[in-house]
């Protein structure tokens, strides 16, 4: 992580003016309900002296990044008609179904590695984006990631989530540690090594810190740690539960669940003055709070009606309204970044599945259907959902597009994955 951020800052960028005219048109409308995959061709990169296999590695890695978004179909190289090195014959690309084309070149001069990426609209026969990145061989992954973001920006209007990570609790035996991992499943990093139960990681809005709950001192207490690792700091150790919830957008406060008064209640915990402002006052279980993106409302889980259901209240604790009525077990609400949806898990047909609804409880849509799927978390652009999927007793950390399509496994092999929490943009 640390390295990557440093690399980002030493990359040198050259922008060409042709960038401007790409922003007018959205090639891929992400919000369209049935989205055909956008066909894109990526040629081998031109690399005169290619000892490291860059000519193949660059297009392959770019293809992998684009595939992960779930929006692209990478056209098989075997279908290519235009294999010449001269001018581009656009008709040869439209003939094989391509709508976009990426060509590139890599140059090695001593320690310096520079790469050119060029995105074309082949139906209109014009250049959309050209970028040149200069660094060392260690920066090549970051270069490809940057251009994948450029392609997303040019074709969808938003840069995507290549610079994000997912935090989660990974269980081994009786204990769990806090981990983070890149959105594409690379660079797994363990943040804690307490040999205790550590759970409920939540990123700060600037992506620098992660708060969580840990039993490392016996009681489930609240801690915060630098997202790149380091010593932790104790935030709250009230008797009973100190369950970590999301941060406020200004980074000052945390939503927490405390049971210090004999039953679980929700509080806003101000980290600056240490004060805890109580939001709920009910003899039943109140747990799993989250803010609406504008901070005016809080969704949470309560069993005040007899079973766990999702409720919404004003951010000061007034005007509590139940919003789920279908099914007798609905938990883990998370408000979408745009504010138009709440994702949650509900018992459906004897197992937990992930569903979305609008903040009034309408437009219920079930996104998953087989096995057990729980603990949803939105990507910062709201286009993806990270979650835990369990089939045949095997737990896996997964992501899918926010309409339920393009299920893919990010990590597997731990005894149990819990509480995935998607980072904000980290700009690496």
């Amino acid at each position: 992580m640390l390295k990557k951020i440093a690399i980002g800052s030493i990359l040198i960028f050259f922008m060409t003016p042709c960038l401007q005219d790409t922003y007018g048109r959205v090639y891929i409308d992400i919000d369209s309900p049935s989205l055909p995959k956008f066909p894109i061709a990526i040629t081998d990169f031109y690399c005169p002296v290619d000892r490291e296999g860059h000519s193949i590695w660059f297009p392959d890695q770019l293809g992998k990044f684009l595939k992960l978004t779930g929006y692209f179909q990478i056209i098989d190289k075997k279908a290519f008609l235009d294999t010449g090195t001269g001018g581009i014959r656009f008709a040869d690309w439209t003939a094989i179904g391509a709508e976009s084309l990426v060509k590139g070149a890599v140059r090695n001069e001593g320690n310096i590695l520079s790469s050119d990426f060029h995105l074309f609209d082949v139906t209109q026969g014009k250049s959309l984006v050209f970028k040149r990145y200069t660094g060392t061989a260690r920066d090549k992954r970051a270069m490809v990631m940057r251009f994948a973001s450029e392609i997303m920006l040019a074709l969808t209007g938003e840069a995507g989530v290549f610079d994000t990570r997912i935090a989660f609790a990974g269980k081994k035996g009786k204990n769990s540690e806090i981990f983070t991992i890149n959105f594409d499943g690379t660079d797994l990093t363990r943040l804690t090594n307490y040999r205790a139960l550590s759970i409920l990681p939540h990123w700060s809005p600037d992506g620098r810190r992660i708060s969580f709950t840990s039993y490392k001192r016996g009681n489930p207490d609240l801690f915060v740690i630098e997202a790149r690792g380091g010593p932790d700091h104790l935030l709250s150790n009230e008797s009973g539960l100190n369950l970590c919830g999301p941060w406020s957008s200004d980074g000052r406060s945390l939503l927490v669940t405390l049971s210090r008064d004999g039953n679980e209640e929700l509080y806003v915990f101000n980290q600056l003055n240490g004060k805890k402002y109580r939001l709920t006052n009910d003899a039943s279980i109140d747990v799993s709070p989250c803010w609406s993106p504008d901070g005016t409302k809080v969704a949470f889980v309560s069993n005040r009606s007899g079973s766990p259901q999702i409720y919404v209240m004003d951010a000061n604790g007034y005007n509590v309204k139940r919003i789920t009525y279908e099914g007798n077990y609905n938990t883990s609400p998370r408000w979408s970044p745009k504010g138009d949806k709440i994702v949650f898990e509900g018992m459906r047909g004897g197992n937990f599945q992930i569903l979305t609804m609008n903040p009034e409880g309408g437009q219920l849509t079930q996104l998953t259907g087989s096995g057990r799927n729980d603990s949803p978390s939105w990507s910062p652009d709201g286009r993806y959902i990270a979650f835990v999927s369990t089939t045949g007793g095997k737990s896996r950390l997964c992501i899918m597009n926010s309409n339920g399509s393009n299920f893919r496994i990010i990590h597997s092999g731990m005894d149990k994955y819990m509480y995935p929490n998607w980072s904000p943009h980290l700009n690496f």
């Binding site: 769990s176 409920l200 009681n219 489930p220 539960l241 747990v287 799993s288 889980v301």
Partner: protein
């Protein structure tokens, strides 16, 4: 300009190579020194290890004795998504209260647990409720509040790791552990 930067890279490379080389040498020297002095620290480590093992054994023995003292009335069970003390649990709680009355130096930690079928965070709350309703029942039987502590492990400490109705029934419990003897 370019020549100068290439020159710089060249020197940086030489410098890093020589650094790596000297670090390697230092390591070798350190290992040798360690070999010569190994007798006393090894014995010390052995003694420390033995003391540690002894302490762990003693703690385990103490735990086992404490567990044996209340064996048969150290668990009560709950229905799915419920935390009310069931009629059949009352007898168990009475036995435990009798033991605590007869052993006024003993305290009890009530550990609340849930089965895996619920969701993890909600189950932490549910486990807390189970621990607290058991604690309240004990207080009702005359055990002082200060002798009782509660903690919830949610679904993370199953007694039975299975995925059957039978396993789940065992995992929805409040577990009593003697403390402060």
């Amino acid at each position: 300009m370019r020549k100068r930067s290439l020159l710089f890279i060249f020197f940086a490379l030489i410098l890093s190579f020589s650094l790596a080389f000297s670090v390697g040498c230092a390591k070798k020297a350190a290992v040798k020194e360690g070999e010569e002095k190994q007798l006393s620290p090894e014995k010390k480590a052995e003694a420390e290890q033995a003391a540690k093992e002894q302490a762990v054994k003693e703690a385990e023995k103490k735990d086992a004795e404490a567990a044996a003292a209340i064996a048969g009335f150290d668990y009560i069970y709950f229905d799915f998504d419920k935390y009310n003390v069931k009629p059949e649990a009352r007898e168990t709680l009475k036995k435990l209260a009798n033991y605590l009355n007869a052993n006024p130096a003993a305290g009890v930690r009530v550990e609340g647990n849930a089965d895996e079928r619920g969701t993890a965070e909600y189950n932490l709350a549910l486990g807390e409720r189970r621990a607290q309703s058991a604690a309240k029942y004990l207080m009702g039987l005359g055990i002082a509040k200060k002798r009782i502590s509660t903690i919830s492990y949610g679904e993370e400490r199953p007694v039975d790791p299975g995925h059957t109705e039978e396993a789940w029934a065992k995992n929805r419990n409040a577990h009593f552990v003697l403390t402060g003897k």
